[in-house]
């Protein structure tokens, strides 16, 4: 049982959800999701946001029966101890994969834009202890990082106004020129940027009045969607579709044209500021993974954190180059899609049946 002292207010769910979703994807999703829906892909973001809202609802349906319950308890209840723990372990691996994807993609951006000769292993030596320092303490520290990870980079949203000077609205006209199928296909790609919500299954017991926090989870998801759509629209009116095919990180291009009397090439500042959005991602996933192992096997939290960070370190160092990062991204996207939209609903159904059976027996 988690004491009330260690719990956080329901409002914090808003920050936890949106900081777990937003991250490194903001820089590049615009040129990925337009694969099918073209310049209408921003609608796909709204669709994806709505679908994720439904998933959040499903998660709350799963979790609300037990204030203490998290995914470990649900798995054990639904599948029994052995199978349940095994599935939890798979989920842990998935969280680790997500953390690796985020971290590795960010390092990739740094390598391409700032330091081509960056030694990944040396750079991570600086970063991994920071993550350990954050997750080895109480959950509140993690929440604090998530909170600041939403509040502080909020100013970056203002940078979207600058490129509008060069905007051409005809780039996104006529609207709704793509079929529903194309938009749906694009939204499957867009979902990758919303996948952080799965951490909710782990931190749920740490929320005060957890049952009442559902609306904040939806608000958090809404905030993410709004920001994504704003970023996406700004990108699409700035670039035309042919240009978009060539650039990997369109947002960096948007920043590049920002000029102040004392500063040019804003993307250097932007990438540095983006670190405060990346950190909550990695920290939250790593904390969740640590917590799961701790809950399942009862090992000491700090030791688990150290071991998992060791795995993260090795995984990030060996996944070399742009191809490696792409493979990581794609596989994480596919696994996440299956996890959120197939596994979670199925889990809800099995859990429902299981509970009915239990009730009848007793």
């Amino acid at each position: 049982m988690i004491s009330i002292k260690h719990k956080v207010t329901p409002l914090m769910v808003l920050f936890l959800i949106s900081s777990s979703q937003m991250g490194v994807g903001v820089l590049g999703f615009q040129s990925i999701i337009n694969k099918y829906a073209g310049y209408d892909a921003w609608i796909a973001l709204i669709v994806a946001g709505l679908c994720v809202s439904v998933v959040i609802w499903i998660m709350y349906q799963l979790l609300k029966h037990d204030e203490k319950g998290d995914i470990v308890a649900i798995h054990q209840f639904t599948y029994g101890k052995w199978l349940g723990n095994f599935l939890t372990l798979l989920f842990t691996v998935y969280l680790l994969l997500m953390a690796t994807v985020v971290l590795r993609t960010y390092v990739e951006i740094i390598q391409v834009w700032m330091f081509p000769h960056l030694k990944v292993w040396a750079f991570l030596m600086l970063l991994i202890p920071l993550i350990y320092y954050t997750i080895s303490d109480q959950f509140r520290t993690v929440v604090g990082v998530c909170f600041l990870g939403v509040v502080y980079p909020f100013l970056l949203n203002l940078t979207l106004l600058y490129p509008l000077k060069h905007a051409d609205i005809t780039h996104i006209l006529p609207m709704m020129n793509h079929s529903i199928t194309e938009i749906m296909q694009s939204s499957t790609l867009a979902v990758l940027n919303f996948m952080g919500v799965s951490a909710l299954l782990v931190f749920y017991p740490y929320i005060r009045d957890a049952g009442k926090s559902q609306k904040y989870a939806h608000y958090g998801n809404l905030y993410t969607t709004v920001i994504y759509v704003a970023v996406c629209l700004t990108t699409y009116v700035f670039y035309n579709q042919n240009e978009l095919k060539e650039v990997i990180w369109p947002a960096l291009g948007l920043w590049k044209i920002i000029e102040f009397p004392f500063m040019e090439r804003f993307e250097y500042v932007g990438i540095a500021t983006l670190f405060f959005m990346i950190l909550p991602n990695v920290v939250l996933f790593m904390w969740a993974a640590t917590r799961l192992v701790h809950r399942t096997f009862g090992f000491q939290h700090k030791r688990v954190a150290a071991v998992l960070l060791g795995i993260l370190y090795i995984a990030s160092v060996i996944s070399m180059g742009r191809e490696g990062v792409n493979i990581l991204n794609d596989s994480a996207g596919k696994i996440g899609l299956v996890f959120l939209f197939i596994y979670i609903p199925v889990l809800l159904i099995i859990n429902f049946i299981r509970r009915k059976v239990r009730k009848n027996v007793s």
Binding site: M114, F115, M263, E264, A272, F276
Partner: protein, 487 residues
């Protein structure tokens, strides 16, 4: 015969005591005959106030209108006198400034009169937390004077003072102050418990307590606010905070505190809220500026000179043209010089200290630039950063700010902006983890408390501050204290 035995033993004890005391430096011993007995009076010259002794004690003793010590006790105009039979207690009491009287067979016990010599400074004006307007009193080294200064401002029965003794050798008196019904019981208990647990042999100043009861002793950040202003102490007590006063220290400690409180000068409350808020914001900007500007310069000049617009680049390149060092080394040398100046200025007497400022600031600065050791621009940057760190009202915090600049500088030199971001994240996480008396140090930013922001980054007018800060978990949230009390 039997009746005489205890008296004989007492006499033996006394003779033994006298023998040991005679070897002590400054022990003074009078004796004269009185009613067939010998009357003894002894004290330590350095510990006793001679004026009190001559004025109040000696005349009374010589009047001979008493038969035993109990009667004598009635004539002596001091409370807190003690009667004891135990001779072994005497040496300890003498050191504390007591005078003993022994009357021999008539009454085989000792009368102890406290006549301690009080050497203390007068209450003077605050020097570290000086304010142009407002009260001009500051604490002194004597705890009773300090408590009196606080009591004068908070003359209410609810003012609760718990006294403890800390330090195995010094046995320093430590007082924990709080206002009943406003301060949180748990805070008071935590403070008292932690002070009780302090296990060091000497407590010379409140800083000793500040460091030993801190939540995280391996943090560069002070976690208890120290102040020399009784008015500030009275104000925070009324807010529901706890104050720790230590004998021998002119600084009282305030807890629980927050990071932002370290950047609020008490003068902020004497000015109108708009000016006060503006000054506070200037101070906060100055701190950020002070921490970040030199590392930013190093990061940009080393790794990202693309950031600088062309017009500015010319100025920068021109000023750096003759400098043989990389920016990191250049900045480290200059920062080190500034620290050298500050340290030299702080260690020297005030009058010479000013000279050091001129020598260092003007002579070395100009010469360094002319010799091509550093660039003009960096000199400006470093000097401004130093200036920024001096705007922090609490001296200990301004030290911290100057200290954390150095790791930032090095990381910025190695990994540029990204390194800087990571280093800031380290500080951020550290602040998130930090507690002051068990309460979050980074509040009201996180945990986010909108309510407490009215006296954080800015200070809103008093009539809007109708609630006590949530940070301290006050028992009574609403201000002012309920009216029944004022009846």
């Amino acid at each position: 015969m039997n009746k005489k035995a205890p008296q004989k033993k007492a006499q033996r004890d006394f003779d033994k005591l006298l023998k040991t005391l005679k070897n002590k430096d400054g022990f003074i011993h009078y004796h004269h005959e009185h009613n067939q007995d010998t009357m003894h009076l002894g004290y330590l010259k350095t510990a006793v106030d001679p004026e009190k002794l001559e004025k109040y004690i000696l005349p009374r003793v010589q009047e001979y209108i008493y038969n035993d010590l109990n009667e004598l006790d009635q004539f002596i105009p001091f409370t807190k006198t003690e009667l004891t039979n135990d001779a072994s207690e005497i040496p300890e009491k003498l050191v504390k400034g007591f005078t003993f009287i022994y009357m021999g067979n008539a009454s085989p016990s000792y009368l102890l009169i406290p006549l301690p010599l009080d050497e203390k400074r007068n209450v003077s004006i605050p020097e570290i937390e000086f304010s142009v307007v407002g009260p001009k009193e500051a604490f002194v080294e004597d705890i009773d004077t300090n408590l009196n200064l606080i009591r004068k401002r908070l003359a209410i029965p609810e003012l609760n003072i718990k006294k403890l003794k800390v330090g195995t050798i010094t046995k320093t008196e430590v007082a924990v102050l709080s206002i009943d019904g406003i301060a949180d019981e748990e805070n008071v208990n935590t403070a008292v418990q932690r002070i009780k647990n302090v296990d060091i042999d000497q407590v010379i100043d409140s800083s000793f307590i500040q460091q030993t009861i801190a939540d995280n002793q391996n943090s560069p950040f002070p976690q208890l606010l120290d102040t020399e202003r009784p008015d500030r102490v009275a104000a925070v007590l009324a807010e529901g905070k706890i104050v720790i006063s230590v004998d021998g220290s002119p600084h009282a400690l305030i807890a629980p505190t927050t990071l932002i409180e370290f950047f609020s000068a008490f003068e902020d409350y004497f000015l109108n809220w708009m000016t006060a808020s503006a000054f506070r914001l200037i101070r906060l900007v100055a701190v950020f500026f002070s921490i970040l500007i030199t590392p930013l310069y190093v990061a940009v000049m080393t790794h990202h000179f693309e950031i600088i617009p062309q017009a500015m680049l010319i100025t920068l390149v021109h000023s750096r043209m003759q400098v043989p060092f990389p920016p990191l080394l250049e900045a480290l040398i200059l920062e080190f010089t500034i620290e050298l100046l500050r340290e030299a200025g702080a260690r020297l007497p005030t009058k010479i200290g000013q000279t050091i400022g001129i020598v260092g600031g003007i002579v070395i600065g100009t010469a360094a630039v002319e010799a091509g050791m550093t660039s003009n621009v960096l000199l400006i940057v470093v000097a401004l950063a130093a200036l920024g760190s001096f705007t922090t009202p609490v001296y200990k915090m301004s030290n911290t700010i100057r200290l954390i600049r150095f790791p930032l500088l090095i990381v910025a030199g190695v990994y540029g902006m990204i390194g800087l971001a990571i280093a800031i994240a380290y500080i951020m996480v550290h602040l998130l983890r930090l507690r002051s008396l068990g309460r979050p140090f980074f509040a009201p930013i996180f945990p986010f408390r909108l309510q407490d922001f009215k006296d954080a980054l800015i200070r809103l007018p008093f009539n809007m501050q109708n609630k006590r800060p949530f940070q301290v978990r006050p028992s009574k949230v609403k201000r002012p204290i309920d009216k029944e009390q004022n009846k």
